[in-house]
Structure formats: structure tokens, C-alpha cells
Amino acid sequence: METTKILSARFGKIRPDSVEEYVAAGGYEGLKKAIGMQHLDVIEEIKKANLFGRGGAAYPTGIKWEQAYAIKKGPKYMVCNADEGEPGTFKDKHIMAEDPFQLIEGMTIGAYLMGATEGFIYIRGEYMGIQRIVRSAIENAKKAGYLGKNILGAGFDFDLKVVSGAGAYVCGENTALVESIEGKPGRPRQKPPYIKNCGLYQMPTILNNVETYSCIPWIVKDGGEAFSALGTDFSGGTKLMCLSGNVAKRGVYEIPFGTTLRELIYTIGGGIPNGKKLKFVHLGGSSGACFPESLLDTKICYNDLKKNGLSLGSGAVLVVDDSSCPVDYLKAVMEFFEEESCGKCTPCREGNQRMVEILEKLTEGKGTMEDIKKLKSLAQTMKTTSFCGLGQSAPVPVITLIKYFEAEFIAHTEGKCPAGKCKMNGKGVK
């Protein structure tokens, strides 16, 4: 499938921290064009692009920038969420490792519009090598006059710093990320006030994901309509999808919106290896939905997915074949959340812990129907009462796996694991 590449066009073709090679490959055209345009016209282009936040929340970027632009208070800060902690997600890693200037340029365009002079790229601690690449790119951009004082002679200053995360998944949550940059423990803030009004150091803050910022230079250079036309009516542009799990060709693929999940997994990804069949797909990261074959013809489009009760999340597509047990799989997922809840609110801190406890019982053959009922009830409580997105979405795999594979959960209460994965040590011990 040959499709237009926006984000991955230069992957592997330029040295990632070389400004010259980036410029030679068409880089910084967007910034130059933006400087010659009215601020609101640039924002209008982004609105026309139908660009939605690529971090997972899918908030329309143009609207976000328009609202941030209208805020009179200052200084304003540009912040990039490069925490990429969602399991099965490694797209931002590729952008930063192979073409970090598109991110830097995107943030610089934003800074120019907003009048921000300082920006921060919050990169997860595990990406130490990538942090070095981005730091080097920033230094080189400064030397070449694309960052620092009086950028391109246009009379505006903008400086970027890389801030390293320290391993907490919750710091991918925007308010926790901002707390972390401020040197505080990464725990979410009560909203409102929202980041755009009251973010870093209580100042208006424009916070976007790596991929979102990276779309901006192309949109400004080639126009919002051209970007939008690449995707569906609703979702503009292309998306980096991360294929992992039981799929032949794992990796990051840039696809236009409108591609179906089946095309992604079978045509692009080469299907399920070893003669196995698909059991379910876990979409959008650990906090995303798990669904079976029957939904594979859904188009990758925010609207189409939503109609089917799904969410694109970070763009992670974890393929699980029929040798897996959904109960066993879910236990592993929930163990992640048990560790990674920040611990601030009760439902997330305690709920994940207790879900793991119940799932342990089920995989050991000690679970009961009451336990499944409790699992559902806890999932509902977490979804509706958790403080932030982490706790609100952590139960999504619980809800969806029980929805599609309830019979297998019930089999575990009868001492049977249909997939033969669970040891069921406690069979008959009930």
C-alpha cells in the first residue's frame, strides 16, 4: 500500500540531529511560512486540518490552539508530552529518534503564535538515548538560528529544554506531567482549572503530544485542507500506528485515516503468524478496549471507532492470538495498573489492586461468580469515580474482555481454562 507519508517521510533518510539535512529535505518551510502569515490564519489552517490530539484524548488541536491564543495572561509555555508510557506504543520514539526537527519546528511555530519564549519536552526516562538525540537537535537548531534569540531574524525568541521523566506511567497524564516538570511528585491536579489556563507554574500552557506537534509543520506548509484530505471526512491526516503482539510484521506504520484495522493487521502487518487465529485486538494501549475479529472492519477514524465503542488511544495495536487466555492476559494488564496508579485517589489505587487479587483467584481456579460480579462493579466504579484518565480508563480492558469473553471467565470459576494457559492450581479448593 503506497500512501502519502507525512511524519515518517524522512525516517532513515537524514541524520536525526542535522539541521542542514532536515532543511535540505524540506524542513523549516512551515515555520518560515508561518512567520509571514497572520497568527489567526495559521490557527485556521490547523483547524481546517481536522487534526486531533494524538496522545489519546483526541481533542481538536486547532480549537485548543485557538483557545490558548485567546488567553491574555502570560508568560505562556509550550510543553510536549513525550512520556510515551502506554504499553505497546513506540511511535513518538521513532519520531524523536529519526526526525526530531519536525517536533521542534512544530513547537517553534506554536511558540511564535502564542508568544511563548520557553518550552519543555518531557521525555520518558527509559528513552535516555533518544533524549541525547533530541538535546543534540535542539543545540544544533540553536546554532543554526532556528531556536534561541531572534529566530530567523523574525524578532522572536524561543528556547527548548528536554526534561527527563523518572519512570512513572501517570506522568503521561498532562497535569501530572506538569507537576513533574515543576519538580513535584507526578500526581494529577484537580481540573478545572485546565492546563491551557493554568498549567506549568500556574501559567497558560500549550501541551501536545509529540506526534501532534510533528504534524504542524506539514499542515502550515501544505495547508490544512491538503492534510485533512489525506484522511476521512472526520479525521484529518495520517496516523502512526504501532503494531505489536502476535503479528508477523511488528513495527510503526504511517497510515491514512480510513484504513481498516483488518488492512492494518493483515495487509500491512502480515497477519497472525504460526498458523494461529486472532483472538482479540487490544487497541490504544493498556487502557484501551479489547475486541474480537467481528470489529476488524472498523475504519481507523475517531468517529467510526467511537461508534463501535472503541477509542484510538495512542495508536497501539496489540494483536493477541487464540493461544492466549483473556483472564490471564487481563491479569498481566491489571498488574501494570496496580503498579502504575499514582496512588492519589481511592478507586484507582485500591481498585486496580483488588482487580488483580480477583484475577489471581480466577487464574488459580479459586474464583467465583461473585468475583466476576465484583470485577464488573469495581470496573464501573473506577470508570466513573477515578480522579484522572488513568483510573477512568484502566478498567476498559476489564469491561471489554468480560463483554466479549464472559464464557471463558465463567469457565475459570468452574476450574477450567479453555485456552489451557492458567495453571488452575487451586482447582476444587474453593
Binding site: 496496580e338 489492586q353 466504579t381 480522579f387
Partner: protein, 574 residues
């Protein structure tokens, strides 16, 4: 004022802008349950017990931090809300060490009440999170196994008191409230104020219990066990026995203490008067002889430790006077045994204090004279109530008794030490008489009274404008000292009490179960204190006949050699 109209559980209500759903519901007598919420101190919306449904909004929302808006339709007890609330309470309860029968907070525990009200049965969850081990190194004992991670103690320690020795650590299932690197409290900058105990909804924070030590002293025939009771204890102890808040139970308390077996029941009000004699004299000397000003009171051991840790440049400003507790101990082991014909080594002095920091103060290395420790045991108001209950004394039915001579007489000035502004007012009453050489009739210095955290006044005495400030809460003390350091304020005399409201709200006072009543309770205890002051025939420390006798027969004059040896102390930069 802009009024917002909304509907809660089908009832219309109109409230000012910026009101929370919780407050608006209260107006309709709908008591949405809360756990982590503590007005003005901990408004973090983290426990999620108070979640409610709002029509048209996704999910449930915490009533404690959600502001009202026009036309909201709120439902506080739907099936969804009840199920969520039950799940949340069960989750909290499952990781809580449910030793209710042996817990000091049994029947006085907010979690217990919430679970009972919500009808939570037992839980099937078995695992227990490890939140650390018990720390009983200091005056405040932490039991993490009972901690519900509400964060109230963290907020009061960091924000109200500006101390910040406890905070959250780790994440997920391993989250705990602990000290930096899990060091014992005693090794840290903890000031032992016990405000964390007062806000804890459960039994995770307690004072270090000394009742067994007191019982064994009372039962030791070789010891001559005497007791002193601090000013603020008498207006709060009654609460432990269901009596109205602010009731003065002085007479019943004295009777109870005698029944418990104390040989003599003395009064810290007496030594508060003594403190005024020394401190008043010290102030006049500092002013007249170009001494270090402002002079700052030293009665509050929490404040002293706070200053020793954080404001070394003000250590010389602290009055060298020991606190009334320690002054009492010093005379109870010197003057008293001489007069009573008792061996000072056999005198065992117990203090009943509204304060947890007094336990620490009594144990300070320098608090001894000629090898004898001033104080042998300190119990809080709560611990005294526990002893009275253990002895099965029907407190509320007791007749009144009077304090014993020769350390039992006191004036109105002594009792007002129990609340913010009281030490200042007591000092002014005596200083004004000394400086004017008159017996002044205008003795109520209302300008220094009140509940605000920082108050200032200028008092004209004998032609001199005395600039004074009164602070309560160490967070406020820090603010004031920072202003002085920056040259933005200056005073002759400052009173500091570590606890918000002063000793009436000390860390050892009865737990106020309904936290929304805290301010009201503080106010009533203060009213109780001023009522006692008003009822006293003598209201100036220097008029106390037993104080006069103490100086005439033993000490000589305030500030002189013997007084200095017994009644003054020094401080350490920590």
C-alpha cells in the same frame, strides 16, 4: 452577590458563586459523606467518597471540590452513587487495619461511621498493602497499617504548620504516607504539635501513651506523686464524657485526680502566673537595657522546636523563661518539698497537658535542676480521660474540689494562657502595673484577642507605645518572622502558639469528630477560658498570693539567681 440556582435531589437551592456542591447540599440538610475533605486545609478531592451524579456530565463528581453552576441538577444518592460509594468505602476498609476493638479511636473513628452509615458488610478482599511499620520514636506515634491515605495530616503538617515532615511516597498499591526516606519522626524536624493527630480520621496517628507510666507511679508507695493541669484542659475534658463543649470542669477534674490517687493536685495556672512574673520582668529589662527585641514567648514547645530548626537568627529573641509546665516542675521539686517536708527525689511530677509537644519538652536534656528532671510524665487531655474511664469514675456526676496549696492558687491571667493572645494579655496586665506603678482597672486587652492567625496591636503603657503581635500556628509564625527578617515589620513583644487557636486546640485535646464543627468548638473552648478569667477575684499574675509567698519565702526577686537557675533555660540551633 451573584447567586447560582441549582437542584439537588429534586430540591431547589440558591447559593453564592464559588460554593461547592457539598456546601450547597448542606443547606438542604443533605449530608454528603466525606473523608479526605477538610475545609481550608485539605481540599484535594482524592478519596472520592463524596461523589455525586450531575445530569449531563459524564461519570461521577466529587462534591467537595466541584463548584456549583447555574441550572445544575445534582443527585446524591442514586443507585450508581450508592454502589460507587460502597465500593470505595469497601476498598478503603479492605486495606485498613481493622483492630477496631483495641483502637484508641473506636467509636470516634470517621471511617467506622462512614462504613456503618453506608451499610458496608465485611469485605472478601484478603491481601493487605504494606504501608510501613509503626513509628513510636517521638511524641506522635504513626501506625501506617491504619492509614487511609486521605492526606489530611500531610496538608496540615506542610501547609498549616509549615513543617512538612510527612508526605506521600511510592505509587500504586505501594503508596504510603511517610517521612523522608522513612526516617523516624524523632530524628526529623517534627515539632510534635500533634495537629496531624487531630485531623486524622482514623487511628493512624496517636500520642505516645504515658498512662501506664502514671499508673505505676501512682501505685508505687515510695513515690510522692503530684499532678498539674494546664489551663486549656479544664474547658475540653468534659467533651470526653459527653458534656457540652466549653464546659469548665475544673472542680470535677480535681476530684477525679484525687480519686486516681495523686497526693496533691496543683495547677499549671499557678506556674503560668509565675511565668508572667519572670517574662514580664525580662521584657521590661530588655526594653530598658537595650536587650534583643522583639522578645518572643517560649511557652509553646512546638513553636520552640520550630524556631530551633528553621529560624536560628531568632533564638536570642526567645524569652529565656521555661514554659509554665517546666517552671512548675522546677518548683515542685525544690520549693514544694522543702515546705512539705518531702524528699525531692521522691516527688514524681505528672503533667496533664492539651499538648503532645509537652511530652517532648519534658524530656529535653536541659529540663532538669540539680540532677532532678522537672517533669516525670506527661499525659494529654485524652489520656487523662482514658485513665478516668479505666478507673470507672462517673466523671459527670463528680462533686467539685479545689486545687491544693501551695502551688494551686491562680489568677485570671494564668488561665488565659490556654488560648491565643492569652499570654500576651496576661503579660500586659502585669507589665502595665509595674511600669505605671498603679493598680490598673482596665485590664481587658481586647485588641490582642481573636482567632486570626496573625494579629498586631499597639498598646500604650505609661506613655510608651508597646508594639505587639500575636501568632497562632507555626505556618503563621514563619510568615511573621519572614516579614521581620525582610524589615517589613517590627515589634517589642510577640506571642507565638504552635497550634491554630492556641492550647485549646492543642494536639492532645479531645478529637473533634465532626470536623465541620472545628471552628465552633475552638470558639466555645475559648469562651470557657475567658469566662473563668472573668470569674476570678484576682486577674493579674502579680496578685497571686501563692506566687508572692514563693518569691518572698524562696526565690527572692524575678530574674535573680535562684529564679534564673530554676525557671530559665536556653535553646539550641538544630
Amino acid at each position: 452577590m451573584d447567586m447560582i440556582n441549582l437542584k439537588i435531589d429534586g430540591l431547589d437551592v440558591s447559593v453564592p458563586k464559588d460554593t461547592t456542591i457539598l456546601q450547597a447540599a448542606k443547606q438542604l440538610n443533605i449530608d454528603i459523606p466525606t473523608l479526605c475533605y477538610l475545609k481550608g486545609i485539605n481540599e484535594v478531592g482524592s478519596c472520592r467518597v463524596c461523589v455525586v451524579e450531575v445530569e449531563g456530565w459524564r461519570g461521577l463528581h466529587p462534591a467537595c471540590v466541584t463548584k456549583v453552576s447555574e441550572g445544575l441538577v445534582v443527585k446524591t444518592a442514586t443507585k450508581t452513587v450508592r454502589e460507587a460509594r460502597q465500593n470505595i468505602l469497601e476498598l478503603i476498609m479492605a486495606n485498613h487495619n481493622r483492630e477496631c476493638l483495641s483502637c484508641a479511636r473506636n467509636t470516634n473513628c470517621e471511617l467506622q461511621k462512614l462504613c456503618n452509615d453506608a451499610g458496608i458488610g465485611d469485605t472478601t478482599f484478603e491481601k493487605k498493602a504494606d504501608r510501613g511499620s509503626i513509628d513510636c520514636s517521638g511524641s506522635v506515634v504513626r501506625d501506617p497499617s491504619k492509614c487511609v491515605l486521605c492526606g489530611r495530616c500531610v496538608s496540615v503538617c506542610s501547609n498549616t504548620q509549615n513543617v512538612g515532615v510527612i508526605s506521600y511516597a511510592h505509587r500504586g498499591a505501594h503508596t504510603s504516607v511517610t517521612t523522608p526516606y522513612e526516617v523516624e519522626l524523632a530524628g526529623l524536624e517534627c515539632i510534635n504539635c500533634g495537629q496531624c493527630i487531630k485531623v486524622c480520621p482514623v487511628g493512624a496517628l496517636q500520642e505516645k501513651d504515658a498512662t501506664e507510666r502514671v499508673w505505676s507511679a501512682l501505685e508505687n508507695p515510695d513515690l510522692h506523686v503530684v499532678v498539674q493541669t494546664a489551663p486549656a484542659v479544664r474547658v475540653a475534658l468534659g467533651e470526653e464524657f459527653g458534656m457540652p463543649v466549653g464546659t469548665n470542669v475544673e472542680g470535677k477534674m480535681v476530684t477525679a485526680l484525687k480519686r486516681l490517687g495523686f497526693v496533691k493536685v496543683f495547677d499549671t495556672n499557678f506556674s503560668a502566673d509565675l511565668t508572667i512574673m519572670e517574662e514580664g520582668t525580662e521584657l521590661i529589662n530588655r526594653i530598658n537595657n537595650g536587650g534583643k527585641l522583639p522578645m518572643i514567648t517560649s511557652c509553646s514547645p512546638g513553636w520552640i522546636k520550630f524556631c530551633e530548626h528553621n529560624y536560628h537568627e531568632f533564638l536570642e529573641n526567645l524569652s529565656t523563661c521555661k514554659s509554665p509546665q517546666q517552671m512548675f516542675g522546677a518548683v515542685a521539686k525544690s520549693y514544694y518539698p522543702q515546705k512539705a517536708g518531702v524528699d525531692p527525689k521522691k516527688v514524681f511530677v505528672v503533667s496533664v497537658m492539651p499538648c503532645t509537644a509537652k511530652k517532648y519538652e519534658a524530656d529535653r536534656e536541659e529540663m532538669k535542676v540539680d540532677g532532678l528532671r522537672d517533669i516525670d510524665a506527661v499525659i494529654t487531655t485524652r489520656e487523662l480521660a482514658k485513665m478516668i474511664k479505666q478507673a470507672r469514675i462517673e466523671f459527670e456526676k463528680l462533686p467539685d474540689s479545689c486545687y491544693d496549696s501551695i502551688l494551686g492558687a491562680s489568677t485570671g491571667a494564668g488561665v488565659i494562657f490556654g488560648n491565643t493572645g492569652g499570654v500576651m494579655e496576661a503579660a500586659l496586665r502585669t507589665v502595665a502595673d509595674i511600669l505605671t506603678g498603679k493598680d490598673l482597672k482596665e485590664i481587658e486587652y481586647t485588641a490582642v484577642r481573636g482567632m486570626e492567625g496573625i494579629r498586631e496591636a499597639t498598646v500604650n503603657i505609661s506613655g510608651m507605645d508597646l508594639k505587639v503581635a500575636i501568632v497562632n500556628g507555626t505556618g503563621n509564625a514563619a510568615k511573621l518572622l519572614d516579614k521581620i527578617k525582610a524589615g517589613e515589620a517590627n515589634y517589642h513583644f510577640i506571642e507565638v502558639m504552635a497550634c491554630p487557636g492556641g492550647c485549646i486546640n492543642g494536639g492532645g485535646q479531645p478529637i473533634i469528630m465532626d470536623k465541620s464543627k472545628t471552628e465552633e468548638v475552638k470558639q466555645k473552648r475559648i469562651e470557657g477560658i475567658y469566662a473563668i478569667d472573668k470569674s476570678r477575684a484576682k486577674r493579674k499574675s502579680h496578685e497571686n498570693p501563692e506566687i508572692k509567698a514563693l518569691y518572698d519565702e524562696y526565690l527572692g526577686k524575678p530574674g535573680e539567681h535562684k529564679s534564673h537557675k530554676l525557671l530559665h533555660t536556653h535553646y539550641t540551633a538544630r
